[in-house]
Structures are given as structure tokens and as C-alpha cells.
């Protein structure tokens, strides 16, 4: 395999696949580095290995991924599965680990297409066995054909709750409790964005239909839930939740939580590119131009890793990045570029039309990060909210300072699960605006690397 490429994409979800196929078709030498063993990313995970039965359960939006994977497989793009990227440099060098061996390769452009993750939103008992993400349960179905035995309690806020409830139900899993933390009157408050959303009436109708269907299939539904906690001895045994006037406790063995989807920003943060803060959905996202180019000229971010807009938008953004890069690295003319961009730009505009409404309706509830002192913020190092507040009182006003004194963020996950909470608590306790703070930094290796592997890795020779 060559060491040098025109472009390397990290991730084989819709953005990475569409980028690579388009880029290859435009004459670029492109490689996709994928941590999984088959293409699909998270949304189209394991799509090549599904049965007709599982495809019918997962629905047409999932099956659509087949065409992306087919186009990718049929293109001249190279595919490197089972390969985990762990360091990127702004000059286009990339280190990855594959089957226990690390290597450094280089490209003129790097396209980060590592997608998104479920928002880590701590609550008492969230680290107990029996609690997992709603998306995680969907991933289990897609990748391993595993389902919870049920009954299942689902809690949280976001459209993913609906589709997973429907998937579980079709697989014979009882969803006994469906507890929504979507802020009260959310739809009303965002009504002004509704007309724009109706540019995609089919999409909106489908969402409404899913809402109706979900309400019918769950046994108990509660809206405007304001807080919740899991209890048990070594595993979840009961679950309590509260709303305006009341509180309830139910037996529970499987709790699926979901408080939204946020971009995975490990690589952008490792590179130190500029980020912006979205006050509605409350997350950091890399600052990008309309083609996905970051503040570092050789680095692009495509798909949900740039902003969470869903799979179709991710695919379109992947194509935009490919066209832009091709316009610089091949003899693609300006007029031809415009011709290619036009329909994609239009499609993307349409695809994004409902987003302000969706993002507004499903925004995280205001007190999401008003954590009880005893809530565990850093799962890896078991750092509680009160320890973080204690550090702040002692004068530690930045994430870096709090991290050094509490060890929050120093565990194996490298703050992936705690940086959101850490940022929100610091802002709350110090009165700073998050937009004036900086995202928590990350150093390479962004993924674990064994000592033996580091000793044997092939590094590229320094050019200067």
C-alpha cells in the first residue's frame, strides 16, 4: 500500500463513503481509513451483512445506505478497514493502528468523517450495568443482532428515541416506559421555524407518524420529565423519574438513555482547529467553510462531525468536500466545479430546511447539566460533580486546571465522556460564557497505543 495519497478520509459512514467515491471519480487518489471491518459508519453499520428480515426492521432509511456502499466499493477509492487513526498533523500526516501495527502515511488533504456520538449527560447511577445509550442499543442490533430481553425503559430527548423504540418493538422487545425530557412547549416555542421545515413535507410527516406509532407501542409514556436516577446493587434494579408535580419509581433492568447527538471532535481538538459553540444544541463544532474546510487548510471535516445534520446531509457534505479538493488538486475547471456543486448545494439546502425546527424542538433542556453534587461526571476516574465544583472554588477556573487537580478527563476515554459536563459546570460556577471558553484539548495518541506497537511503528521521515 502506498504511503502518499491525494486525500485520506477517516471514517466510512455516509460522509466518508460519499467523499471517497466522488473524489475517486474525479481522479483523486483517495484512501478511506475505517476502524470497523466493513463500511457503513454508525448509521449504516454493518449494512453488507444484514438479512432481508433485519433490513425490513431497520427500515428504508437504513437500506438506502446500500447504494452508498455499493458506489464506494465500485469506485477506485482504496479501503483500509480495521484501522484506527490516532494522530493527525496539519501537514497531512496521519498515524493509524491496524492489527497491532502502527504506520504513518500522508495525504495532501485529510477529511475527518468520524461522525457523531450520543451526548454524555450524567445522572445518578448512569455508570451501572444495565444503563446504555439508545443509539448503543441500535448499534447492537445492527452490528451483532443482539436485543435487550425487555422490558426496557427509554428516557431522553431526540428523534432517535422514536426510531429505536420502533425497531425494538418490531423485534419483539417490550418498551415499558418511554420518558421524554424534551423541554415543555418545545414545539410551540419553535413554531416560527416550522414553515421552513415544511419544505420537506414528507420528512415532517414521517416524523409525525413515528411519534404516533411510538405513543401506541409503548406501555407508559411521560412527557416533560425533568430528572431521573437509576438505583441498584451492582446493576440497575429500579429507575426513578420526576416531572413538574410528581415523581415515580419503577423496577428497571434495562435503561436506554439519549439526550441528543453531538459531533465527535477528538481529531479537530487534537489538531487545534478553530471551534464554535452552538447555543441551541449546546455543543462545540469545528468552524468550517461551505465545503467543510477547517481553519487548517489541509484539514476538512465532513458529515455529522462538523455539525449534526443527519445521514443524507453527511453524504452531500462529503461530496462537496470531494469537489472542492478536486478543484485544487486536479484540472477540474471552475465552471465544471460550479456545475457539479449546483445540484448538491440545492439538495443540501433542502435537506437542512427542517433542521432549525428539529434542533430547536429537541434542544437539551436547560437544567441538563445542573448536576447533583454526587453525580459522577468522569466515569473513567470516578470524579464527582462536587469535586469539580470544589476545584473551582479553590481557584481552578479552566478545564485544564480542574483536570489537573481532579483527574477528570485523564482516563482512557480522554474526556470524550466528561468534557461536555466539565465545560458546562465550569461555565455555571465561574459565570463565564461557554462561547468565550475553549474546547477541552486532546493530545495524541487519540486512541490507545501499546508500548510495543509504538516501538515498531513506521514513521515517515521528517521533511524539514
Amino acid at each position: 500500500m502506498r504511503d502518499e495519497w491525494d486525500a485520506i478520509a477517516i471514517g466510512a459512514g455516509p460522509a466518508g463513503l460519499a467523499f471517497a467515491a466522488t473524489a475517486a471519480d474525479l481522479g483523486l487518489r483517495v484512501l478511506v481509513v475505517d476502524e470497523q471491518d466493513v463500511p457503513g459508519g454508525q448509521i449504516y453499520r454493518n449494512i453488507e451483512n444484514q438479512t432481508p428480515q433485519s433490513l425490513s426492521v431497520l427500515g428504508p432509511e437504513y437500506s438506502y445506505g446500500h447504494s452508498l456502499v455499493k458506489a464506494f466499493r465500485g469506485s477506485q477509492a482504496a479501503y483500509l478497514p480495521n484501522s484506527i487513526a490516532w494522530k493527525i498533523e496539519t501537514d497531512g500526516r496521519l498515524c493509524y493502528s491496524s492489527k497491532g501495527k502502527s504506520k504513518e502515511i500522508k495525504a495532501k488533504r485529510i477529511v475527518i468523517a468520524t461522525g457523531a456520538m450520543e451526548r454524555p449527560a450524567p445522572f445518578p447511577g448512569w455508570t451501572m450495568p444495565g444503563v446504555m445509550g439508545v443509539g448503543a442499543a441500535d448499534t447492537l442490533i445492527k452490528s451483532s443482532g443482539i436485543i435487550p430481553k425487555g422490558p426496557v425503559t427509554m428516557v431522553g430527548n431526540g428523534p432517535l428515541m422514536l426510531s429505536v423504540a420502533i425497531h425494538l418493538n418490531e423485534l419483539g422487545v417490550e418498551v415499558s416506559h418511554f420518558l421524554e425530557t424534551t423541554p415543555a412547549f418545545s414545539t410551540l416555542k419553535n413554531l416560527s421555524k416550522f414553515p421552513k421545515a415544511m419544505a420537506k413535507p414528507g420528512y415532517m410527516l414521517k416524523g409525525a407518524a413515528m411519534m404516533v406509532k411510538t405513543r401506541r407501542l409503548v406501555k407508559h409514556r411521560k412527557a416533560n420529565v425533568t430528572g431521573y436516577a437509576a438505583k441498584g446493587n451492582g446493576r440497575v434494579e429500579s429507575f426513578s423519574y420526576s416531572w413538574g408535580q410528581g415523581t415515580n419509581q419503577i423496577p428497571a433492568r434495562t435503561v436506554l438513555m439519549h439526550e441528543g447527538i453531538i459531533p465527535r471532535t477528538e481529531f479537530p481538538r487534537q489538531l487545534g482547529v478553530e471551534h464554535c459553540w452552538d447555543p441551541v444544541q449546546r455543543y462545540w463544532y469545528p468552524k468550517l467553510n461551505r465545503f467543510g474546510r477547517s481553519s487548517q487548510p489541509n484539514i476538512y471535516i465532513a458529515g455529522d462531525g462538523g455539525f449534526v445534520h443527519g445521514a443524507v446531509a453527511a453524504e452531500l457534505k462529503g461530496r462537496l468536500a470531494a469537489i472542492d479538493i478536486a478543484s485544487e488538486l486536479t484540472d477540474l475547471t471552475k465552471p465544471k466545479k460550479e456545475t457539479l456543486l449546483n445540484p448538491i448545494g440545492k439538495a443540501l439546502k433542502l435537506e437542512l430546511a427542517p433542521r432549525p425546527f428539529i434542533d430547536g424542538v429537541y434542544q437539551p433542556r436547560k437544567p441538563l447539566y445542573d448536576l447533583d453534587d454526587a453525580t459522577m461526571v468522569c466515569r473513567c476516574e470516578e470524579v464527582l460533580a462536587q469535586q469539580i465544583r470544589g476545584a473551582i472554588i479553590q481557584g481552578m477556573k479552566t478545564a485544564e486546571m480542574v483536570k489537573s487537580i481532579t483527574r477528570c478527563g485523564m482516563g482512557p476515554c480522554q474526556s470524550r465522556m466528561c468534557s461536555c459536563s466539565l465545560t458546562e459546570i465550569i461555565a455555571e460556577e465561574t459565570g463565564q460564557m461557554i462561547k468565550d471558553m475553549a474546547p477541552v484539548s486532546i493530545r495524541p495518541p487519540v486512541r490507545q497505543l501499546s508500548i510495543g506497537e509504538l516501538t515498531r511503528m513506521e514513521l515517515l521521515k521528517e521533511e524539514n
Partner: protein
């Protein structure tokens, strides 16, 4: 807690989980195997307090599913496919509270 839904190939592989043989469907991740076939589906003990932990995000982000696989410590079980003869163990290691407060 969890169970197999679709028998894709119908084939199974035998892994050694905590020194006992365990038959699991071909193609599933080690994390999925622990969730669906182990009696107690926690996959590790916290290195700080020793409390039980289980896979949480299933996409390689949360690092809860760290297990010893084929003698290598701290492998992300959700990212590794179970293979015939693979040995899978929970880390028993508990480091105790670290130096920093």
C-alpha cells in the same frame, strides 16, 4: 439481559470467557457476547473503586468495555469481533484512589 435476535449464519464460535467455554454467534463483537451470553454482563471493574461496569456506547467512545483479550489488556471489546479460541477476561485490577484529590 440481552439475547440474540437474528441468526445470520447460524454458525457459532467458541470463545473462552473467564476460563470457561462460551458458544456465541459468529460475527458478534466481544462486548455483545458478554452482554448476551455471560451470566453477569459487566465487563470490567472500575480501576478506581472496583464497581462493576458494562458497555455503554458500543461505538468505541466511552471506553467502558475494556477487557483483556488474547492476553492483551485494555482492549475495546465493542470494536473486536469474537473469534474461535479467543480468550476474554475481565481485568480484576483495582488501583485504588489515585494521588490527586
Amino acid at each position: 439481559m440481552y439475547k440474540q435476535h437474528s441468526q445470520r449464519s447460524g454458525r457459532t464460535v467458541c470463545i473462552e470467557f473467564e476460563d470457561s467455554p462460551m458458544e456465541v454467534p459468529e460475527g458478534i463483537s466481544v462486548a455483545a457476547a458478554v452482554l448476551s451470553h455471560a451470566e453477569d454482563h459487566h465487563c470490567r471493574y472500575s480501576v478506581v473503586s472496583g464497581e462493576k461496569r458494562a458497555p455503554f456506547c458500543l461505538i468505541g467512545v466511552c471506553h467502558e468495555c475494556l477487557m483483556e483479550i488474547d492476553g492483551k489488556p485494555y482492549q475495546q471489546a465493542c470494536m473486536i469481533t469474537a473469534r474461535e479460541g479467543m480468550t476474554v477476561k475481565r481485568h480484576e485490577f483495582k488501583g485504588g484512589k489515585t494521588n490527586a484529590r
